[in-house]
Structure formats: C-alpha cells, structure tokens
Point group: none
DNA sequence: TATGAATGAGGGTTCATTCAT
DNA sequence: TATGAATGAACCCTCATTCAT
C-alpha cells in the first residue's frame, strides 16, 4: 500500500495548492480532503497537524519553482530573460501560496531548499550583472518578494484564468521597470 | 448621543482597516470590536451584517484614495508622476484591504464613488496620453489592479514598516515598467 | 444578564457533577451543555477550556464537602462519629468526581480550599486523638484517600441508588476498621 | 505460526491490563497494540470487536484471581485470613480493571468462571461462619464489590507503587471492619 | 497471518450572529 | 443605544474500525 499512500499524499498536496490559489484563503481541511478524494483521516495521517500540511505545501511549490529556475539558468539565457522567465514560472508553480499560509512557516526547517534557493538567486544576479540589461543594484529580494507578490491571486473576484493573465501582465511591467535606467536624455527616472 | 454613535462608527472602521492591514487577514468580529473599544453588540448595531461592514470599510479607503487622487490631478503634474503618486497614495490609504475582503463586494452599491473613480481614471489616462511618458495603451485596470496588488501586505512575516517599504519599492519598478518602450536600438522589450 | 449568567454557570457545574457520577466517565461537552439546558457556546464562555471546567467542578464539590465537614466538627461530636459523618457526607457531595478527572488537577491553584481542608483534617485528627476511639496513628490521608475511593461509582453497572448504598456500606466497614485495635485477648489478626 | 499467534494474543492482553491499571482509563486501541509490539490489525484479528477484547481482559484477570483464591482456600487458613488474602491477591491480579471497562461486560458469557467464582465465594463464606471471626451476615457481594473497589487505581496522580500501597492499606482497614462486632461494653457504635 | 493505510463518526472548540438586559 | 451573554453551525482533530496488501 505504499504506492497508494504516496499517491494520496500527492493528491492532498495538489488539492491544497489548488484550493488555496482558487479561493485566496487557507481552505478547510475537509475541503482539501474532499478535493483530493480522500477521507479526512487520511489527510491527518499524512499531515498530522496544521504546520505539517502547510510546510509540505510550501515545500512542494518552492521545490517546483526552484527546480524550474535551475533549468532556466542551465539553459544559459541572458540575465533579463532568466529573471523574467523564473518569475513567470514561479507564479505558475503556485509560489503565491506561501503568501497565504498563516502563521508563516515559523520554523522553515528546509536547509536543502534554502541552499538551492540561495544558489539560484546568486546565479541569477551574476547573470544579470554579466549581461548588464537590468539594474546593477538588483538584489535577491527584488526577485523573491516579487514572486510572492505576483503569485498571489488578487482576490477581487476575477476568474482564475483572468487573474493569472493579470498577474503575468503586471509582472512583465515590473520586470521592464527593473531595466538599467535610460540615460537622462531619453527621459526621466520618475522615482517614488 | 448622536456624536457618540458617530465616533463609535469611525472607530470600528479604523480598527477594521488597521487590523486587516496588520494581520493580512479578515479579522474576527470580536477583535475588531475590542480594538475599537466597543462591545460586539455595538459593532453589529452599526454594521448589521458582514456585507455592510465590509462595504463600509471598502468605501472608507476608496474614498480616501479617490480624494487624494483628485487632488493630485488638480495639481496638474505630468501623466507619469500623476499615476505614480496616485498609486503610492492609494496604498498608503489602505486600498489593499479591498483585496482581503471576502467575498468581494458582490454588490458594490456605491454609484457615487464609481463615478468619481471612473472620472479620476479617465483624467489620469488623458494626462498620460497627453504627456507621452507612459505606454499609450495604458488602461484603467493597469492602475486599479496595481493599487490592490501593491496595497496588500506580503504576509510573509515582514514587520509592517518593512512591508510598506517593499511595497513602495516594487510599485516604483512597476510604474517604471509602464513607460513608453525604448526604441529597439536601445534594446528589446523582453516580454513574458 | 448577570443573574442569567450566574444561573447558567451553576447549572453547568451541577450537570457536570451529575453526569460524571452517573456515567462514571468524563462526559462529552455537548452532553453537559444539553443536560444543563444551555448551548455549547455558553458552556465554553464560562469554561473556556477543559481545565477550567474540571477545576470548577472539583472546587464545587470540594467546597461542598469541606463546608459540610466544618459544620460537623462545629457540632462537637466524638472523633469517630465526626470522621464517619464527614466521609459519608463527602461522598454524598460528589467528592468522587475528583477521582475521575484527567489529567488530575495539575495546577490546583486553590490555596483557600487547601487551607480549609488542612484545618479540617487537623481538627478531625485532634478530635480522634482526644476521644481515643480510632487508631491513634490515623493520618489525614486515611481520610482523604478514603473519600475519593468510596466516592467514586463502582462502574460495574449497578443502578445509581444501589451503587450509593454499596458505597456507604463499604465505607462503614472501613471506618469500623479504623477503630483502636482490640486487646489481643479479644482476637484480631491485623495485617494483610 | 500458531505459537506466534498465541504469543501475540498474550502480549495484547497483558498490555491492555497494564495500560488500564497505569492510566486508570480504558486505553486507545493503538496504544494497546503499540505497547504489545503488534500492529493494530493484529489486535483486531485476535479481538474482532470491543466486547471481545474487554471480555478477554476481564477473563484474564478473573481467572488469575479465582485461581489464586482457590489455592488460598485449599490451604485451609482461617476465615478472616482467607478473605483478607483473597482480596489482597485479587487486587494484585488486576481485578480492578473490570471496574474500568465500559460498557460493563453486558453479556458475561463465561459460565465456567461464574461457577468457579460462586463456589469460591461459598467456600469463603462457609469458612467465615465456621471460624466466627468475621460478621456472620457477611455476603458474597461484600467480598466481590470490595475487590473491584480497592483494585482500582485512585487516579489522583499517585505513582503506581504508592497507589498500590494505599489500596492494600485501605483494604486492610476494610477487612478489619468486617470483624464480628465487639460487645457494646467495649464501645463501638457502628453505622453511619 | 501481520501490517498499517484509509475511513468517517463523533467529540472539541471557535466565532459570526442574535437577543435579553 | 451600548453591552456582552447565548446560540449553534462549522471547523479541527482523534480514534475505533475496516480493508488492501
């Protein structure tokens, strides 16, 4: 029954991510279990308390996003494109859920992912500096915080597809705005 | 006793906005009442059901944001600056709360504010087109959705001041990215 | 509504004691609330968590038993009769419930009752020694542990009235056995 | 594989008795299985429903207690000593568990043990009457109910060894109290 | 046969809302 | 009108029992 258990675990995680992103809220346990097609007891066997489910959900999406990011940097695209692709990919992997999980991951306890994430960010920033397309003062948090900002549903009643479209469009403008500033002759920085 | 009632109403609204932005969630009714220093019964006297409190909260922040926007366009600044200032101002007025209110304001029922909001957006877009600094295809939703996107706390455990700082910084990049595209000689748009 | 609240509190306590003694178990919260004729929410308003209800129940019966004991010693009966009456009275006051409450009163937090209980025991033991009817080495725990031992229903299916009768009968034999030993000429084997 | 099965059955029974006496409660099935070192499925194979496990546990301790009692009467000690020894022995055999099993053994279904128990009680009472040390109106229930009363842990947080010591001490006083009453000249009022 | 995963009924607790004072 | 007690639906979680391996 190991394989069944594995499949159930996967289904619960997928359902949890889906429901969080659909509803913009942390869903009721019963709803997750029902969406996964398992009993509530099964959910609790795999994730014995609130924290462990939320941790697993967060790991799940982070792992997906980081893996995608690693592929992107492996393909040796330019700095701007790498950052842009990573962010689009991360929100498609559901990275916005980490923004909707309370209390937030107090005890992350995932040194492996942290190491991979830090390496990924370092690589992205090196690429950015090498290629000179984006601001040279770009920092890791400009990427990380953007992923959680744009990955989260607006929750103002847009249908999911529309919400996703808006997110990607806004994200593109954001990344456009990270470009190295034009010479002043070309026109003004604006600023806050 | 009318003035007492008015004050209680104001306090409840202010507490609701404050708690929503502090916690990143729709707070419990008791918590709102307690933060306002009134009894739960008083809260329900002023806002007899869920919708009416949420509506009032939304009106409260929208009114502030729109009024501020009207002042901005009155001062006849350039299109880019007007959009940028409006957005910074809107998030400071707490416009992000409309993103955290569930279910979203199904029945807006505020024709006055809609009229003012539409007029404000029209004016901003005209200004943008007149001045030519931002994309000419800029639409009202590029502004409206940005205000709710950036107005909402990230809810990843940042202290409130830090969260606000991040929001303004991200917003600036977003507005930078709304500028009219450079000539291709200067280097590509990227795209998503 | 203070008086209503008070009455509800009393009713919940009485129902809890009654159900514990009837069923020999810690009853479900709904059952207590229903027996008290209040909603489950009311029960939780008065006793916000498991401990606080159990504490209150224990206090309730201890207070009754101690008060009765104080009256008994005030009436200046002989040592043996005082001990015997106290024990019969304590089990009628439901002192057996303290034996059925888990986890037991980890944090008693009732210095007032402890002081009264200790004084009562001291008085009883002085009376016993003064009158010479019971063993001179009688200790407080011989009384205290007896009250909880005999106060608890046997839980072997006896009807409540029968159970109570058995308890009183067994208790009488126990107290008889606490008498000062007969001279060896008269017999008596002692030890187990 | 028969011997394995037998050993598992024994282990489950022993664990059940041990846990009941340690905790003063009917333990969770998983806890019994774990303490026995078997899977929950194995427990249910041997004891397919609640009743059958509880029956088996009860039989287990009753059989031990009755056998011990039979040895005691075989050794032809006096009536008082026989009763006293039987009771001490019964509580050491764990007879108190029958007091903690709910719902109590509605359908005893153990005619063999009943026959042996009745014969044992008859013999004890005959011995008592023959020797004249204990009350001549002593009844079987004075013995049976005492065994379950004193065999049960007090459950007020005493360590197990201490609890057992208290039980034996209280039992001794109880048996002392079953002695034939003194002549009135010597004192003693009896009744409560 | 032994195992442990799956199930879901039921008990525990919270909280939005109503209502008596 | 202000208050906070009362209510019960809904959510959280445990655990007795079943079932697939």
């Amino acid at each position: 029954m190991r394989s069944d258990a594995r499949r159930n675990r996967e289904r619960v995680l997928a359902s949890a991510v889906g429901l969080i992103l659909e509803t913009g809220r942390e869903p009721a346990r019963d709803a997750i279990a029902e969406a996964a097609g398992v009993g509530i007891g099964t959910l609790y066997r795999h994730f014995p308390d609130r924290q462990s489910l939320l941790h697993a959900v967060a790991r799940h999406v982070l792992e997906g996003a980081i893996s995608a990011g690693e592929s992107i940097v492996d393909s040796d695209v330019g700095g701007e494109e790498a950052v842009r692709c990573y962010l689009h990919s991360a929100i498609d992997h559901g990275i916005g859920v980490v923004n909707m999980i309370h209390p937030l991951l107090d005890d992350p306890d995932w040194p492996d992912l942290q190491v991979r994430a830090e390496k990924l960010m370092r690589t992205l920033l090196e690429r950015v500096r090498r290629d000179g397309q984006l601001r040279s003062d770009l920092a890791a948090e400009d990427i990380v915080f953007a992923s959680v900002r744009f990955g989260r549903p607006l929750a103002i009643g847009l249908p999911e597809a529309r919400d996703r479209e808006v997110a990607h469009r806004q994200l593109d403008s954001y990344v456009d705005g990270l470009r190295a500033p034009r010479s002043t002759a070309e026109g003004g920085s604006g600023g806050g």
